[in-house]
Structures are given as structure tokens and as C-alpha cells.
């Protein structure tokens, strides 16, 4: 039976991880996401499903523990917030390079540096363009409700294993801290891994398996990269998710993701009340980015305003998608500040409708 609860985003993520049959969580405390590990520790998943929960000595240790568990074909997850995610960049690059499946959540706070613990979306570039070294991509999911936190935790594991690729859930202080009604899916069983790429103990008579991101020879490393690039093209073809609100008749388009899309939706409602034909396109996957959706609507609208809790990041992907077909502007608040619907409407009027 599905279950209805009022939960914080962070707790919902933890509960969803247990229910999806995750094998291991490794993490280190940092505001505003410490509730994830706290919830797990309090809920004794080791008794419920046998899931392992370990507080690591650092974010770096945590991501490398994830590497180890993922290399065994196990479902492993870690969560952190911005500074902690920066520390995981080498590890993420290794995981991407070794083609291991895992889930990482970033409950983004305002940067740069120690910054503030207030919500932000200023890690978009880091997640989407590759914060670590080398040509790799994370699949990036951007939930905008506690329900989506739950759904995407499940989806994240599915995609991670489907493509043997790390999946990032990009949440933020708002989504992590707020409580909403959620419908929880039923407990799924943990499964014993039996993948030929995983180190599960050598099979008698077969050569041993190894997990690595190293190729001494450039020729070989290029092959790895070609394989990765082919995989990314597949992902771009198959896994794009987005939502459109009132786009049918839209003359102007708002674009926003995550918590900010909720606020932007309110701004859209205000704009509609004022008589503007405004739609909202919300990417649910930041990578793969809904390039075609933006490209298509670019022929229809007079301009696009991206609304972000950062100084202008997703706006670049929107511009790349529409490739000059329509005007694309950005409105943002940042450093932990949250835009309000009125100022969004105002920016829309200034930069797009009037501009």
C-alpha cells in the first residue's frame, strides 16, 4: 500500500533511498542536508532492509566509499551541500570514468566559499557542465517538490544502473527543508548484484574483474571517451524530462527549475492575471537538457526569461538551445536570496515584454 506522509525533503530522500532498496549510504554532515543522515540513523535501515549507513570522516571519504560500493554493483548514495559537493569532484570524475552507477544529492546553498546556508541554485554549472576534470556528464535531476524528491530518488537509481553513470539530484535548501505531503512507494527488495562489470568476487574459470578509470595509453583512453560520448548521446535522446505550464498560447516564456520554478509559477499566474500570455517551461532533467522543447517554443514566443537563484547559469543552456531564434534573458537573486513573484513579473515586463 502506498503511504501518505508529511515530510521534509531531506527526510523524504532518506526514506525513498531505503524503500528503493539502496544498499549503502555514506555521508558527512552539512547544513542544509544533515537531516538525510540523521533520518537514516534514526530509522535503522540496517534492521529494515539491511542497508548500511555510515558517517564518513569527510565528503571525500564518502564519495570514495560510494565508489567502492558501486564498484561492487551495489546501490550506493551520498548527499551533501555545495562546499561538500566541491570536495567530491575528483571522486565524481573517477566514478564517471569508471562507469559506475550511483546517486549523489546536492542540497544547494549560497556560494561561493563558505557562503551562506540559505538556498541557492548556483551549482548548476558545476552539476551540468562538469565540476570535475575530463569530459564527463552527470545525469542531473531537479525536483521541485518533496514528492519529486521521492520519485526522483527512485528514478535516479534506475538511470544510474541503466547507464552505469552517476546521477545527481540537485535539490536546494528550500526543497530539502520544507515539508509537504508525499505518497511513498512501497518497499522494494534489495537485490544481490550480478553484473559482469562489478567486483563481486571472481567467477571460477573466468578472468577477474576490475574497476578502473585509468588507461595509460591515450588511444585506449580515447576509446573510453568515445564510449562515454556515445552513452551521453543516448541519454540525451531518451531521458529528457520537462514540464510545460500554459505554453500552448504563450507569447512569452518563463524558464525555471527546482524550487525556483514553484515561485516562478506564481509569477506566471500573476502575469496571466495582468493579461500577459505567459507560459513556463520547467526542465526536470538539467542534463540531459530539454533542448528540443526550447528550440520548438523559440519559434512561438517573443522572448524567454530564465529565473534562477544564481547569477545566470541555466540561461546559457537555454541560449544554446534556441541558438539565437528568440531573445533570452536572465533574472536572478543569489547568495541565498529567494526571488519573489512580484519582482519576477517585473523583470519579465522590463527585460522581455517591454524590452
Amino acid at each position: 500500500m502506498k503511504e501518505l506522509r508529511l515530510m521534509k525533503g531531506n527526510e523524504a530522500l532518506a526514506e525513498a533511498a531505503i524503500r528503493v532498496g539502496a544498499d549503502a549510504y555514506f555521508g558527512y554532515p552539512i547544513t542544509p542536508q544533515s537531516e538525510v543522515i540523521e533520518y537514516l540513523m534514526a530509522n535503522r535501515p540496517e534492521d529494515r532492509t539491511g542497508m548500511v549507513v555510515l558517517q564518513a570522516e569527510s565528503e571525500i571519504a564518502a564519495i570514495n566509499m560510494v565508489y567502492g560500493a558501486a564498484g561492487c554493483g551495489k546501490k550506493a548514495i551520498t548527499t551533501s551541500s555545495s562546499p561538500g559537493i566541491s570536495l567530491k569532484q575528483e571522486g565524481l570524475s573517477y566514478i564517471a570514468g569508471a562507469e559506475l552507477p550511483c546517486v549523489v544529492a546536492n542540497v544547494v546553498r549560497g556560494g561561493p566559499g563558505l557562503g551562506t546556508i540559505q538556498p541557492s541554485q548556483s551549482d548548476y554549472f558545476q552539476s551540468v557542465k562538469g565540476g570535475g576534470h575530463g569530459d564527463y556528464k552527470l545525469i542531473v535531476l531537479a525536483p521541485n517538490s518533496v514528492q519529486e524528491i521521492v520519485d526522483y530518488t527512485k528514478l535516479a537509481f534506475e538511470l544510474a544502473f541503466k547507464y552505469r553513470n552517476p546521477v545527481m539530484i540537485q535539490s536546494d535548501g528550500i526543497i530539502g527543508q520544507m515539508m509537504e505531503k508525499v505518497e511513498l512507494f512501497e518497499q522494494m527488495p534489495r537485490v544481490e548484484p550480478d553484473y559482469e562489470w562489478a567486483t563481486i568476487g571472481r567467477k571460477e574459470g573466468k578472468p577477474a574483474t576490475f574497476v578502473t578509470s585509468l588507461q595509460l595509453k591515450a588511444e585506449e583512453q580515447e576509446k573510453v571517451n568515445l564510449r562515454l560520448q556515445a552513452k551521453y548521446r543516448e541519454i540525451e535522446k531518451n531521458e529528457v524530462l520537462y514540464e510545460e505550464y500554459d505554453c500552448k498560447d504563450a507569447e512569452y516564456l518563463l524558464a525555471a527549475f527546482g524550487s525556483c520554478a514553484r515561485i516562478t509559477r506564481k509569477a506566471m499566474e500573476l502575469a496571466r492575471k495582468k493579461g500577459y500570455k505567459v507560459g513556463l517551461l520547467r526542465p526536470q532533467t538539467l542534463y540531459p537538457f530539454p533542448v528540443d522543447a526550447f528550440n520548438k517554443i523559440a519559434y512561438q514566443v517573443k522572448g524567454i526569461l530564465t529565473v534562477e537563484m544564481n547569477a545566470g547559469q541555466m540561461v546559457e543552456d537555454v541560449r544554446l538551445a534556441v541558438n539565437g531564434k528568440t531573445k533570452v534573458e536572465h533574472f536572478g537573486r543569489f547568495g541565498g536570496m529567494i526571488p519573489n513573484p512580484d519582482e519576477i513579473l517585473n523583470a519579465l515586463e522590463q527585460k522581455i515584454i517591454g524590452g
Binding site: 501518505l4 508529511l6 547544513t31 542544509p32 546556508i117 540559505q118 535548501g173 528550500i174 527543508q177 520544507m178 515539508m179 509537504e180 505531503k181 524550487s259 514553484r262 515561485i263 509559477r265 506564481k266 499566474e269 529567494i338 519573489n340 513573484p341 512580484d342
Partner: protein, 184 residues
């Protein structure tokens, strides 16, 4: 129906759980709800607040700048949120510890001596339930039955024996809230 509420006071006054109880009660009454706390180190010893939204429709933004109702339990919170009440909205404040009265004239204003009442009940822990009672008197958006069901969800099993006491506190709040300024 959509009610957008800010509840603010000192850390330790039970501000966050008031919002949670209201939201869980809302869920019991088949409403859409959203609860969003202020968080961070300032909370400690300092001030705390949370936004609670209870609505018949899907809730867009969980973060608000103006509110239908502000429940303020100390002076810094009054200073911060009095102006954020929408015209025609509701302000409820706890009199204890306030150094000034609200100044707005375009909103409905109620006061409640919840601290005093809780002392009289010999249990300052029910302070916040008294305030909830006061609020529900003025905005009867949730039925008592559902508040009790909400409490059952919020409180760990081992505290369920305290639910009758909490119910009593809610009723007490409904009794003692007094109008200070009412729009016609």
C-alpha cells in the same frame, strides 16, 4: 481556500512544531499543505520562524513574502513580520514580553496571553497549543478532530497520552484570544 501563515518567535517557543501541527492537521482534512522553516545557526537561542500554507489547491511557491496571517511571539518577530501581513489579513500576537503594540490599521489584530495561560495550566510546554487554539478560533480552517489526528501523526507514540492535555490547551486558546483591532 488558501491560508498563508507565518509563525515567528524565540527558538524554544515551539514555533516550528506549531506550523507542523497545523499542516498535518490540514493533511487530515484533505488539504494541500506546505511548511518551510527558517534554518541555520541563528535559530539557536535566537529567533525562529516557519511558513505554513494550507490550501484547497496545489501550492505553487512554498516561500512567501506576504502572508494572510502572522502569528508573532516576540518583539523581533513583530518588528519583522507586522508589515508582511496582506491588507485585510490577520495578526495574532502574544502579549508577554512585547514592548510595543502593532501599528497597522488595515489588518485584523488579535492578542493572546498564552504564556500566562500555560503557567496557569502548570505546563508551559502547551504554550504553543494555546496559540494554535487562538488562531483556529479566528480562522476555523481545520476541525478539532483533524487537529487531534494531526497531533497523533506529529507526536511520537510515547507522547500520545498527552493529546488530551493538548486538546484542552487548544480549547483554552480559543477562549482567551481577544480582539484588538477588527476591520469591518
Amino acid at each position: 481556500m488558501t491560508e498563508e501563515i507565518i509563525i515567528a518567535g524565540f527558538g524554544g517557543q515551539g514555533v516550528l512544531s506549531m506550523g507542523q501541527i497545523l499542516c498535518y492537521s490540514g493533511v487530515m482534512q484533505n488539504k494541500e499543505v506546505s511548511w518551510m522553516p527558517s534554518y541555520g545557526p541563528e535559530m539557536r537561542g535566537g529567533t525562529a520562524n516557519c511558513t505554513a500554507i494550507i490550501s484547497d489547491e496545489a501550492i505553487s511557491s512554498p516561500v512567501l513574502n506576504t502572508y494572510d496571517t502572522a502569528i508573532v511571539l516576540n518583539q523581533p518577530s513583530m518588528d519583522k513580520f507586522e508589515d508582511a501581513v496582506k491588507p485585510g489579513g490577520l495578526l495574532i500576537y502574544e502579549r508577554n514580553g512585547m514592548t510595543r503594540k502593532p501599528r497597522r490599521t488595515d489588518i485584523n489584530i488579535y492578542a493572546i496571553d498564552a504564556y500566562e495561560a500555560s503557567v496557569k495550566m502548570n505546563n508551559t510546554k502547551v504554550f504553543n497549543m494555546i496559540v494554535i487554539g487562538g488562531f483556529l478560533k479566528i480562522r476555523p480552517i481545520i476541525e478539532m478532530d483533524n487537529v487531534v489526528k494531526g497531533l497523533q501523526k506529529v507526536l511520537p507514540e510515547r507522547y500520545h497520552h498527552l493529546i488530551p492535555l493538548n486538546e484542552e490547551a487548544i480549547r483554552k486558546g480559543m477562549e482567551i484570544i481577544t480582539v484588538e483591532h477588527k476591520l469591518n
